[in-house]
Symmetry: C2
Subunit: 200 residues, 2 copies
């Protein structure tokens, strides 16, 4: 009967992650409540803390899924594109497109901060690295002169820049670019980066 028990545990755990994911997607990270989740999952409040160290740990699970979802979109985006520069553009647009389609899940990735001293779990960092590798690949083709080390730096800088543009545009703190304008602005931006990098 051990299987039955641990199976139930596992399926409840998944159910809770599912529910948290939906909640974050629909109402944002700040709307997540331990009590709501346990009620929806049909378990006791304390059971949540049997499944997860704390709410942060649960959020990490949801964010990991978001990272995977972004990665999958990126995978599809570059699938039939042979040219490396076009691949990079496609990646940027896929990122924007995901952020637009899933703004609250996407924002949760960056809103969520672990308390100081606490490190990200390795499996989470690996997801991040995997995402970064998506960028490294086409960049390596464009800049065969880059060492692995430089390549890694440039890939992260490139990601950071695109992320910044998407981020500030979708946050409505700064008076916004109209949403339609954002596509062409991002397109042009990646062009500028590529051209600049080539002429450097």
């Amino acid at each position: 009967m051990r299987d039955k028990t641990s199976e139930k545990r596992h399926s409840l755990r998944q159910k809770i992650i599912d529910l948290a994911q939906v909640q974050i997607a629909n109402f944002g990270l700040s709307s997540l409540r331990a009590r709501d989740l346990s009620k929806e999952a049909g378990c006791a409040l304390g059971s949540l803390y049997n499944m997860f160290e704390d709410i942060d740990a649960l959020v990490l699970e949801v964010n990991a899924r978001t990272l995977i979802a972004i990665d999958e979109k990126m995978d599809v985006a570059v699938a039939n594109i042979p040219q490396a520069s076009k691949q990079l553009k496609a990646l940027a647009h896929a990122y924007l497109s995901f952020a637009r389609a899933n703004p609250l899940s996407w924002r949760a990735l960056f809103e969520h901060h672990l308390p100081d001293e606490i490190e990200l779990p390795e499996w989470y960092s690996e997801s991040l690295n995997h995402l970064m590798a998506r960028i490294t690949q086409p960049l390596a083709v464009l800049r065969v002169d880059y060492s692995a080390e430089v390549l890694a730096k440039r890939a992260r800088t490139l990601f950071a820049a695109v992320h910044g543009v998407v981020s500030i545009s979708l946050d409505n703190r700064f008076v916004g670019l109209a949403s339609e304008a954002l596509d062409s602005e991002l397109d042009r931006f990646v062009d500028v980066l590529l051209i600049g990098s080539q002429h450097q």
Copy 2:
């Protein structure tokens, strides 16, 4: 005696903003506590809510000061630089330098989110616009062909990109660029943007 009262009110208000500013600078936005502040300020808990609508309003005051401080650093940074492209680089470095010197205050600017529906007060938006104008100015010199509208878009995109690079580098979520490497990486990055923009 009316003057005495409103003067005291005003100085208590300033004192509370001062205290909140120090607290955020030293221990981050998430360490701010209404009870701590009132204790340190030597007033009752309720008095805080006579001075500020809520804690968000207080945070906005602190963030406004941070924006002003950034603006001042930028002002100094470009003071003796005639060349527009060098000014833009100097602005980027001033931004990085401020973020590095005041990481928690700087992070509070972006960590803090008002609840949905609630708009930023106009005086705050104006500070943001003022900061943006710092970038618009040299960019206008470099690209006299830009209309005012395009100029505004490009300035914001430029800011967003630089912010993204600084942001992701200082957040320790992504495996970090060594701090020394960041300066030269940012320098090169702005070069790429400028060169790319010129050749576009």
